[in-house]
């Protein structure tokens, strides 16, 4: 196997952080090479250096036998590097064709480009209408635009940054079929992910990063997911303990719940027992935020739709529901769950004020707030200098631990969380999941809304899917396969596997 890309001794230092240190690895022709590591392990910095967004401090890169030191992404693209970003680098108000043109150095005239987009997208089984606006496309379709944009440049090296995080399992399968096809045509693919099963079944080699250094390059098929995770984290993963839970009486009933908004909920019904975790899966934008808002009280609903312990909560706001023991943690950590500019102890006041008696006679008890914030920090291993630190200064994983911890320590009767481990590294995610399980073990009911199906299978007793604002009937998680879940989520959205002659 000839090397398409090779890195030797790459290093990059940011103020206070050694992001990359002596990185060396290579990607061969036709290889799907995984780059594996926790959040903050240096994957993005490394990839940004290859794509010309960041200049390395030391070391060198070689692409097709030529030294590779791109001054900017245009130079990198000219040299044959293409990249599909984790957070889409698309322009909502522009059309598919315009977005593709922006990713090319010398785009052909408009009509030719549109024709080529149609041709290439159909050839790879990713049909796209070049005249559609990005804003009207689904997440899967948006990713197709990114991929087609790359394919039109005949890249030597294609970088994919966590591409499956927004896809249904069926969409992910189609993506892998496309990648295989590309690899068979000789493209080298650098695949970034922290989904171990995905890497084990689809990648030829994996380079594992930890704290900015290469731990090793291995054959992912020769190792168990457990071993890979251990290399990634540097220690054995905590094993999730599901024992000790006995579902009790019904505590929460939701029926005929409908809402307004961009993705309105339609006649949602569910029941939750004490000591039970109900998992709600679905691709982003299918009503998850609306459901959380309806349950938390941000968006009050018609009378009789949300009932807890026989009390109708439907018309109550969030604070009244919190007093009764219905707590929630929204998906957006910064700005929704926490105020970035406020200190951690001030942030505890926002949701825990009433339940922890942090406000007395209308005045804030700052020392009590600080004590409670310290309790959360200690119980959930939040890495921060102290409760006086601004929430916005914490890393995503640490802030998420804090947000979840704040609610869990509030001793909720019912806890609703949306995307509890999104963008959180493996160690922190395990801690958060364990906390949710422990909470259910203490007779609380927990609703976990998530796009991470592995997480839902691991945590939940029953599983339902949210699709276009409708909630499916719950099914026991035990014995449910990923394929069945995929169908519950709405399948592959009309995509098909491509038919390009190799």
């Amino acid at each position: 196997m000839t090397d398409v890309f090779r890195a030797e001794g790459l290093g990059k230092t940011y103020p206070g952080v050694r992001a990359n240190d002596d990185i060396g690895f290579s990607v061969g022709r036709g290889e799907i090479h995984a780059l594996l590591g926790e959040n903050g392990a240096g994957k993005s910095t490394l990839v940004k250096m290859i794509y010309g967004l960041v200049r390395p401090d030391e070391g060198r890169m070689v692409l097709n036998g030529q030294p590779h030191a791109p001054a900017d992404p245009r130079a990198a693209r000219a040299a044959g590097v293409a990249m599909v970003f984790q957070h889409f680098s698309l322009f909502d108000a522009l059309t598919v064709a315009e977005n593709v043109a922006l990713g090319m150095e010398n785009p052909p005239p408009r009509a030719d480009l549109s024709r080529r987009i149609s041709e290439v997208s159909t050839a790879y089984g990713l049909p796209l209408n070049p005249a559609r606006r990005i804003a009207s496309l689904s997440a899967g379709e948006r990713q197709r635009v990114e991929i087609i944009r790359c394919l039109l440049q005949d890249p030597r090296l294609l970088i994919m940054d966590e591409p499956t995080s927004v896809l249904t399992p069926q969409e992910a399968e189609i993506l892998f079929a496309t990648l295989r096809q590309l690899a068979a045509q000789g493209t080298a693919i650098l695949y970034i992910s922290h989904k171990l099963d995905e890497i084990r079944s689809h990648c030829d080699r994996a380079t594992i990063l930890r704290h900015g250094k290469v731990v090793g390059t291995v054959d992912p098929r020769a190792h168990s997911a457990r071993e890979l995770a251990a290399m990634m984290v540097g220690a054995e993963m905590r094993i999730i303990d599901r024992s000790g839970r006995v579902p009790g009486a019904e505590i929460l009933q939701v029926q005929d719940l409908s809402s307004s908004g961009e993705m309105a909920l339609k006649d949602v019904a569910l029941t939750l027992r004490a000591g039970e975790i109900l998992g709600i899966g679905g691709v982003a934008g299918n009503g998850q935020e609306e459901l959380l808002a309806a349950l938390s009280g941000e968006d009050p609903t018609a009378p009789g739709t949300v009932i807890m312990d026989g009390t109708d909560l439907s018309a109550m706001g969030p604070e009244a529901r919190r007093r009764l023991g219905l707590l929630s943690a929204p998906e957006d950590r910064l700005g929704h769950a926490a105020v970035p500019e406020f200190s951690l102890s001030e942030n505890t006041l926002l949701t825990a004020g009433a339940r922890q008696n942090l406000v007395r006679h209308g005045l804030v008890d700052h020392s009590a707030a600080r004590r409670f914030a310290e309790a959360v920090i200690n119980a959930f291993d939040v890495r921060t200098p102290g409760p006086g630190t601004a929430a916005g200064a914490l890393s995503g994983g640490n802030l998420q631990k804090f947000v979840i911890g704040r609610e869990v320590l509030g001793k909720p009767r019912v806890l609703v969380v949306n995307q509890p481990t999104w963008g959180v590294d493996a160690g922190a995610a395990a801690a958060i999941r364990q906390a949710l399980l422990d909470l259910a073990g203490n007779e609380a009911g927990v609703i976990v809304i998530s796009q991470d199906l592995d997480e839902l299978l691991e945590l939940s007793d029953r599983f339902c899917a949210l699709n276009q604002g409708r909630l499916s009937a719950p099914r026991p998680t035990e014995g449910l396969t990923i394929e069945e879940i995929g169908l519950m989520l709405g399948g592959g959205h009309g995509m098909e596997v491509g038919h390009v002659p190799a």
Partner: protein
């Protein structure tokens, strides 16, 4: 009837210039509330140059330079020092008004040189303003620099990720916006009022800002908005001249009321209508800082 339309074109021209310039800046993602300041700066600089040289054409050229220079002050503050765009824009307006009040004293009571006449009894600046509408539209929609400019305004992080110069694009758009605002202001002093008075732009810059929203960031909509405003202005002058028994102040308010009404209707349509969203550029008014 035709004479009324000519009056309307004249009344619309300063706003058309300023709004087209602001539209380009906003499509690049920068909200410059200093339009009024740049207009009044252009009005004085242009008038002074036209008076000194006797050439209105030279006056407009100097006005464009003055407007662009003021916009570069804004560009330096917001693009390099990352100051708040709203506050900086307001400051620019106050700065422009104060600066011209001071330096304009010697020009009070002086008469402007005669405008050069153009075809069909309309002066060349009216024609230039009308021509700029399709030019701006063509640039934004059909050319690659225009596409990059829209991309920068829509999502500056993504544009940076693809390797496009966000800051340079925005500074260029601001310079264009400043030059257009300067010429718009000079049209008031050189071609409409024919003399300099303190604060003579009288809120035209604010109307231009409102018209950009009214137009939903579309150059043709800017033309419609400028004509609507010009039409109401001419109408209220006519009604005053005809001695309609309505207090003059109410008639003078009419164009501004009409603008507010249209903005309310647009917001209501977006809020309650099916279309949703709106045409505002995604990164409008947000500061951009790249980590290298």
């Amino acid at each position: 009837m035709i004479s009324v339309f000519i009056l309307l074109l004249g009344a619309a021209t300063p706003i058309l210039f300023a709004a087209l310039g602001e539209l380009v800046a906003e499509r690049a993602g920068v909200l410059n509330l200093g339009v009024e300041g740049m207009m009044v700066g252009g009005a004085l600089a242009g008038f002074a140059a036209a008076h000194a040289t006797g050439s209105p054409a030279l006056g407009f050229a100097v006005a464009a330079l003055a407007g662009a220079a003021l916009s570069m002050l804004f560009a330096m503050m917001t693009q390099y020092l990352l100051s708040n765009q709203v506050a900086t824009g307001l400051a620019l307006t106050l700065f422009g008004l104060g600066l011209t009040a001071m330096f304009g004293k010697p020009y009070e009571g002086v008469k402007a040189p005669a405008m050069m006449a153009g075809p069909l009894g309309l002066n060349w600046m009216i024609w230039l303003g009308l021509a700029m509408v399709p030019v701006v539209w063509w640039f934004l929609v059909r050319t690659r620099p225009g596409l990059i400019l829209r991309a920068v305004g829509e999502n500056h992080d993504a544009a940076h990720g693809l390797g496009y110069p966000v800051r340079a694009m925005r500074i260029a758009a601001l310079a264009f916006g400043g030059a257009m605002a300067g010429m718009g202001g000079a049209y008031i002093s050189i071609a409409t009022v024919l003399q300099w008075t303190e604060g003579m732009t009288a809120g035209a810059g604010w109307i231009a800002l409102a018209i950009v929203v009214f137009a939903q960031w579309n150059p043709w909509g800017v033309l419609a908005g400028a004509w609507l405003f010009g039409g109401v202005t001419v109408l209220q002058l006519r009604l005053q001249a005809a001695g309609v028994a309505v207090p003059v102040q109410f008639l003078a308010m009419a164009p501004y009321l009409a603008t507010i009404l249209v903005l309310v209707l647009i917001s209501a349509r977006q809020k309650f209508g099916r279309s949703g969203g709106g045409a505002a550029p995604g990164s409008l008014g947000r500061p951009f800082h790249a980590l290298r």
